[in-house]
């Protein structure tokens, strides 16, 4: 049946092999892939990679853990409420290992609260590994990595409860957040926690910016794992991101100049939209 439908529609391939109108999209993905690959190769052969500028929200991670250590209270991490198929959740994983290690080193309790069973499973494994690498496997308590509920507001209600009863000193929220962001950030501040919030969901960003002590804005969360790892190879991938943005900026400048000089020409948009 599927086969018949495909036959019946019979779209013509773009440039012989691509599905209709996909060639440019694919070229973009390929381009970014090649740029990142080149940068990684450069870093691997020990060539110089530019430094990443300071990102206040990421510098504050160690400060927050330090504060929790002084107060003898836990650090909470929340990886958003989407599953492992969302790149924001994957970006959050990149931070967990760093935070868990710091907590293991300073003997600070690390709580990770999850809305989805899959990130929960991943974070448990990362944390276990981090405690092992710090030589403190005995200090790892699997009950501190919790799955609360797959329902958004049941999860939110449960997190409020944990904030009230376990009294954490630091709250780090990075990932894909929705309406719960304001409830979590405000409850956290009632408890006097030091809070870092980061998300690429633009509708929630203003709340993290306004109610948290530090905010990671949009793309900054995707640089987090590289930034915290301080590894040249990972830095290389961030340089790749910058190159891609330069290409986008150049395209926009060219397009705008063309549109100004000859308003009827749709040459560039035709290429970008047509192939």
């Amino acid at each position: 049946m599927m086969w018949l439908l495909a036959q019946e529609q019979a779209p013509t391939p773009t440039l012989g092999i691509f599905s209709t109108g996909s060639a440019i999209d694919f070229a973009f993905v390929l381009l970014l892939g090649v740029i990142i690959w080149i940068m990684v190769a450069r870093a691997r052969t020990g060539r110089k990679i530019p430094e990443i500028r300071k990102i206040a929200g990421l510098e504050a991670v160690d400060e927050a853990i330090g504060r929790a250590t002084e107060m003898g209270r836990p650090v909470v991490f929340i990886p958003g409420i989407n599953s492992v198929d969302n790149p924001q959740t994957l970006a959050a994983f990149g931070m967990v290992s760093h935070i868990a290690r710091q907590c293991a080193r300073y003997d600070t309790r690390f709580l990770a609260l999850n809305n989805d069973p899959l990130p929960y499973a991943v974070i448990e494994e990362i944390t276990r590994q981090a405690y092992l690498e710090e030589g403190r496997p005995d200090a790892f308590n699997p009950d501190d990595i919790r799955f609360l509920s797959a329902e958004q507001f049941a999860f939110t209600g449960a997190v409020i409860g944990i904030f009230e009863r376990e009294r954490p000193a630091a709250n780090i929220m990075v990932g894909s957040f929705y309406a719960e962001s304001m409830i979590l950030a405000e409850t956290g501040s009632f408890q006097g926690m030091i809070q870092i919030g980061g998300t690429a969901n633009t509708h929630q960003l203003p709340f993290f910016v306004a109610a948290c002590d530090y905010a990671l804005i949009g793309e900054e969360i995707y640089a987090a794992s590289a930034y915290l790892s301080k590894e040249p190879v990972m830095y290389g991938t961030v340089v790749g991101q910058d190159w891609m943005k330069i290409i986008i900026a150049l395209l926009i400048v060219t397009g705008a100049v063309l549109a100004t000089v000859s308003p009827d020409s749709t040459f560039l948009s035709d290429i970008l939209g047509g192939y």
Partner: protein, 204 residues
């Protein structure tokens, strides 16, 4: 404006649930904790039941049973492998389903987002002949520069452009904020309407 309290059991249940949650606004208390735990229990069960009848059962009955698409048996086994994490010596097997899910998500990001964003790029090809268009053009470029991670912000030119970008970002976030405040009160309004008009029966 005389109340006419409902005698519907369902509405009473709704009203009690609503008020139980609002007690938290005063402070954390046993009523809120009961409501919280009831909700946690119901929610976890609900999503499992929903998924069971929408995905798992159709897969077994329709696809495997009727259509003979036996490869879905493997999908079920793949899902079950995640439980190997409870067997310490074989816990590494649980990485297989995980890597499938992450791989799918990764592929999805690469496959379906570029088309949408390319249109955002071409929509930025604005003729620079009006103040509005010039402001949009400048704003997009400055905001992009703000997100450059490897350009030194100490450089006055780059720093200046990034600073303008930051203003744009704050204006965008401010707009989002202003809109959201009102929207959130709409949510409360919906609850208040339920309590006042449906449960207590005031004439609206």
């Amino acid at each position: 404006m005389h109340p006419h309290i409902s005698t519907d059991l369902g509405l009473w249940c709704q009203a009690i649930c609503t008020l139980a949650i609002y007690t938290y606004l005063y402070k954390d208390n046993p009523i809120y904790r009961v409501a919280e735990n009831v909700f946690l229990g119901l929610a976890t069960a609900y999503w499992f039941v929903f998924n069971f009848f929408n995905f798992i059962k159709p897969a077994v009955v329709e696809w495997i049973g009727k259509n003979g698409q036996y490869h879905y048996v493997l999908a079920i086994i793949l899902g079950l492998l995640i439980f190997m994490r409870y067997v310490p010596s074989l816990s590494w097997i649980a990485r297989y389903p995980m890597s499938f899910w992450v791989g799918y998500g990764t592929g999805y990001t690469l496959a379906f987002t570029p088309a949408v964003w390319l249109d955002q790029i071409t929509a930025s090809f604005v003729a620079l002949n009006s103040l509005q268009n010039i402001l949009i053009f400048v704003g997009i470029l400055c905001t992009l520069v703000y997100f450059f991670f490897t350009l030194a912000k100490e450089n006055p030119v780059v720093g200046g452009i990034a600073e303008v970008g930051k203003w744009y970002i704050m204006i965008a976030l401010g707009s989002a904020f202003g809109n959201t405040v009102l929207y959130r009160w709409n949510l409360f309004l919906a609850r208040a309407n339920m309590l006042l008009f449906q449960w207590l029966g005031f004439a609206s």
